[in-house]
Symmetry: C2
Subunit: 397 residues, 2 copies
Amino acid sequence: MSYTPQFARRMGGVNPSTIREILKVTSLPDVISFAGGLPAPELFPVDEIAESCRRVLSEAGTQALQYGTTEGFQPLREWVAAEMGRRGVASCDGDQTLVTTGSQQAIDLVGRVLLEPGDVILMENPTYLAAIQAFRGYEARFIAVPTDEDGIVPDALPELVERHRPKFLYTVPTFQNPTGITLTEARRRRLYELALELDLLVFEDDPYGALRYRGEPIPLLKSYDTEGLVIYTSTFSKIVAPGVRLGWVTASPEILAKLIVAKQAVDVHTSGFDQRVVHDYLMTGNPDSHVDRIRAAYGERYGVMHETLSETFPDGFHWTQPDGGMFLWVTCPERMDTAVLLQSAISHKVAFVPGYDFFPGKQERHFMRLNFSNSPPDKIREGIKRLAELCQEHLGT
Amino acid sequence: MSYTPQFARRMGGVNPSTIREILKVTSLPDVISFAGGLPAPELFPVDEIAESCRRVLSEAGTQALQYGTTEGFQPLREWVAAEMGRRGVASCDGDQTLVTTGSQQAIDLVGRVLLEPGDVILMENPTYLAAIQAFRGYEARFIAVPTDEDGIVPDALPELVERHRPKFLYTVPTFQNPTGITLTEARRRRLYELALELDLLVFEDDPYGALRYRGEPIPLLKSYDTEGLVIYTSTFSKIVAPGVRLGWVTASPEILAKLIVAKQAVDVHTSGFDQRVVHDYLMTGNPDSHVDRIRAAYGERYGVMHETLSETFPDGFHWTQPDGGMFLWVTCPERMDTAVLLQSAISHKVAFVPGYDFFPGKQERHFMRLNFSNSPPDKIREGIKRLAELCQEHLGT
């Protein structure tokens, strides 16, 4: 049996299991992990979910366990539409949404229905690792859009679109993964203007938008969209819990119809039981105050990480200062290889993700992504101190 | 924005929403539906699942709601391995299994990692509609293997393999969908011998195997497999409940590794909460007696459907007499078009699935698939009588 070059292309390129391998190590109890993108489990609304399970099964047990429609549980779709309204997107209704098995599935489905081998995607550089993986599965090519501390530089788009004829722009404009950077409001407006002019489809991936711990909310790219040019995905993983694998996508009716047909062949529908339980929780469990607690906790953790980095890290290191989300991005001195650093970090029981896998093109070696949502403040202090010592040692050698 | 010929090929061909459209009609309360492939919801173990939810959330709530590994919840993988043993497959261990979002996802993932555009798949004719859809997504071509009332004719394989160089044989050997036919034991042995000789990969889809209501179990194709030539998938949809979307796949380590990498990009992992709940149910909820109840009920329903067909259907109609599963396959007189019949059936509040979508090649018009698991006996009697009258009328015109 042979495995074809096409398969190798589909699966290759990305060192697929970097994060997975790190997660295996970091599941050991005494490792302090800034790897992964795990929410804080101690904040999960376990009791409320238990109550919702009880209610769903006693009130609609057989329907909850039966097959459902591909589009999703209708009341949850309606909730999503209302949530889109709260996020500033006028005139979204339930029928314009599709419930997915996490927003990762939305990313994969968009690739599946839009991409042909060799198609170009414009992306931030670095960008979300698992989006690179998913789009590589469809043999896409990636072109980096120039970015700075304010996100994508919109005025770079006309030339890139002219030269590369991209199928779409993929962007995580708010508290980006891996950098934590947020695209400014002025740039969002300009980006949408240009997208209209250039007939450029925009895929806005917004897993973290609700996790703002300072500053004022900035409009979604989708909120400007009058022409069905923006595909938007978000997730319940960060505002409820990730284990239930629930996300959603909203797009023009034309694209949404294709996503639904594709999803039908892929997994028929997302767990109807989980959809009903999460819907019940959203209606009864006070999710807003839950998100407030998450934001307060992550804000504090971010503060502790930033402070400890400032106190302990040697000169020559710089890091982003996000207003929300779950990650910081550290730029190390150029002579440092963070893959090598990771090896000694793991033996000292602290972990992070080396930056190179987040680059769709040339894989820069001197970056690391630090997650601050998954460890309590004292662990963050301790872990950053250990990491600072190791950085010092590495620079000394 | 343009949608490409490749997309049309991916999604086209199959009338994608036949079943979905039928399901919309049949969700109306007073329609008797033999369409769909729905289990009997009144048999779902709702109370046991509720008890398992309570236990999982009180004993391991935060882990159950956190991200998990792509491979699946390890204790559920171990249960699957033990179940494979009970189904006659020696030496399967937990690490040789992957938990999927229903067995539909296993079908899609196998397509994703093995198929390139133009690749040939050997299939029964007719075969499972959603497998055709999934494999069409990878631009496969389909070649029918001759079949009769004992399933695939193995001795047809050498010539087909020689001529078409298929990537694999896809088969539902037990209580097939749509026909209900079971491949005999002698043919299974011969099929595996030939697969070995021809180096032919076999994809055994076994959603219904546990639902036998008469006769003795027949070995799985996978049970002969000493060389990693058989990929096997099954599901919890029929033995527990479909709403939780849980299935599994087992394959050679080489193929399984590729399926896991692909799944990571597709949805990261299947709901860890559902995996834990179903595992808890399997360990505590007496699932064997639950399956016994399902088999008894479906056996009775099959009997009522067969009897009523015999009593009421005009001459010239024939149907299969399966020993298990959820479907009968009716061969109508050749001049009948079951798509036309369906229109008047729906207006008389009875539904079925016309056979044509189940044919990967030429779509024969004079077949229908009848599901007998989802309606109680009195509804089956009533629905079949209505259908018999409509058939009579159609033949009269």
